[in-house]
């Protein structure tokens, strides 16, 4: 049995494809966190901005580590998977962002992403036959558990929730 997600047959992934995919997943998350940080900067929301930048740096570290591993094992062999084959695997969904979100909201959004990515790897693991690919995806799944713990620790350090609702405020574009 195989599982197709956005046109990709996960049952047939080779280790090279799996590494390329993992790099793309981290890259997408890094880019999205950077976009979110830029959005927050535009809306003068420094606390959410700095958390999203912190997440972007983390995702980039992970991406670079995976890209290095891919280069060591497969050199510059061309990739057969592309960024259009994935969407929102580990990246926060666009509608998670709000102009007035607090650091707590930002961290909770990141936590949902780590859980979502974990569920993604659990979902595809059941369909992968290649032992090397299984090992890689299992490692990535395990990493999501560590990331969840990391974000949870950050949340615990925050002052108690004030009950502030970002949806009660708007900072929409200026009319033309």
């Amino acid at each position: 049995m195989s599982v197709r997600v956005q046109g990709l047959d996960y049952g047939k992934l080779t280790l090279k494809d799996a590494l390329d995919l993992a790099v793309l997943i981290e890259e997408e998350a890094k880019e999205r966190y950077t976009e979110f940080a830029d959005q927050m900067q535009l809306h003068h929301n420094a606390e959410a901005e700095s958390f999203f930048r912190f997440m972007a740096v983390n995702e980039e570290k992970h991406r670079a580590e995976l890209a290095g591993r891919r280069a060591r094992l497969f050199g510059d062999q061309p990739a057969t998977v592309s960024s259009t084959m994935i969407f929102d695997v580990e990246a926060p969904e666009y509608d998670e962002a709000r102009a007035f979100m607090t650091a707590r909201h930002a961290m909770e959004a990141a936590l949902r992403c780590e859980c979502k990515a974990h569920d993604f790897f659990v979902g595809v693991l059941g369909h992968i036959q290649d032992p090397a690919v299984r090992e890689l995806f299992d490692e990535l799944r395990e990493e999501e558990v560590h990331h969840q713990a990391l974000v949870k620790r950050e949340i615990e350090r925050l002052p108690p929730d004030s009950g502030f609702k970002p949806d009660d405020f708007a900072d929409e574009p200026v009319a033309q």
Partner: protein, 293 residues
């Protein structure tokens, strides 16, 4: 040409409200353009005015954030003047179906080969949340404190009734589906229309955001819909506002001739009847002599 979605992303940072549906729409456009593979300098992207109409600036295509409701006339002029361009046109529900509503019918009957993407959020976003033509009956906004008294325009039925040869709907809640209908629309040789349910997080309805889309959207392909059957498409389109159908509703199996192709044919015919260049110059010279004398 091997194009990647990021080749179509400009350096301009979107000023949309964080959480706006339009962020997903522009991503879907990057993906669709990469799949089609035309380089940015061969693409013209025209919009009207509205939050959604800022979209050309976030791409590397030639962009024109034009006048409210006038994206289609400008896009048509561009296509006739330079038929080799891939012409995209986009805007909001207000831009397309109130102030610009009259242009839609004529763009359809002319059938130029261009793609019109409407980001339908059922509200005037940019001007701070007034009723739009697709706002539902009873909606309370800053301009309708007691609820709207007007039935909404149905964009899908509207374009189908005027004979649009390609009609689709999508939502950024289904990125793969949205990118694929936009790609198909671009590839379709004629006027193609994509209605995108793109929620306004700031002034839109709380219960019609991407999370709700995800829960209720239904792909027309999964319903066994035959996209070559215009009557079946109209039947599905009737459900606008109550069901969220995604995918291609109608694709005319025999694409009708496009206006740009007909213009070129006529130009070629007229060219045959035209006098040779030398003869025209002779006539000018003779006329000049005659006036001087």
């Amino acid at each position: 040409m091997n194009c990647q979605p990021k080749d179509y992303k400009s350096d301009l940072k979107p000023i949309w409200c964080p959480g706006c549906g339009d962020f997903g729409v522009v991503q879907a456009i990057y993906r669709a353009l990469a799949a089609v593979g035309r380089p940015p300098h061969e693409i013209a992207f025209v919009s009207g005015i509205g939050c959604s109409s800022r979209i050309p600036g976030y791409t590397t295509a030639y962009g024109f954030n034009s006048v409210h409701g006038r994206a289609l006339p400008i896009a048509q002029g561009l296509k006739i003047a330079n038929p080799d361009l891939l012409v995209l046109c986009a805007g909001g529900d207000g831009d397309g179906f109130s102030i610009g509503g009259g242009h839609v019918a004529h763009a359809i009957r002319r059938n130029l080969d261009l793609t019109y993407i409407v980001m339908d959020n059922q509200i005037y976003g940019l001007t701070k949340g007034q009723l739009s033509p697709t706002s539902k009956l009873g909606l309370k906004t800053v301009t309708s404190d007691l609820g709207s008294l007007e039935a909404p325009v149905n964009p899908l039925l509207y374009v189908l009734s005027y004979g649009a040869p390609f009609v689709a709907q999508g939502t950024p809640a289904d990125m793969a589906g949205l990118a694929s209908v936009i790609e198909e629309a671009i590839r379709y040789p004629g006027f193609s229309f994509v209605n995108v349910q793109s929620p306004c997080v700031t002034f839109g309805e709380d219960d019609w955001q991407l999370k709700q889309h995800k829960a209720v959207m239904k792909s027309v392909a999964s319903l066994g819909h035959d996209a070559s059957d215009v009557i079946a498409a109209m039947r599905l389109a009737q459900a606008y506002g109550s069901e969220l159908y995604t995918g291609v509703l109608y694709r005319a199996p025999q694409p009708p001739s496009t206006y740009d192709a007909l213009v070129r044919e006529r130009q070629a015919e007229q060219q045959k009847k035209a006098l040779p260049r030398e003869r025209i110059l002779e006539l000018f010279a003779a006329k000049k002599k005659e006036t001087a004398a």
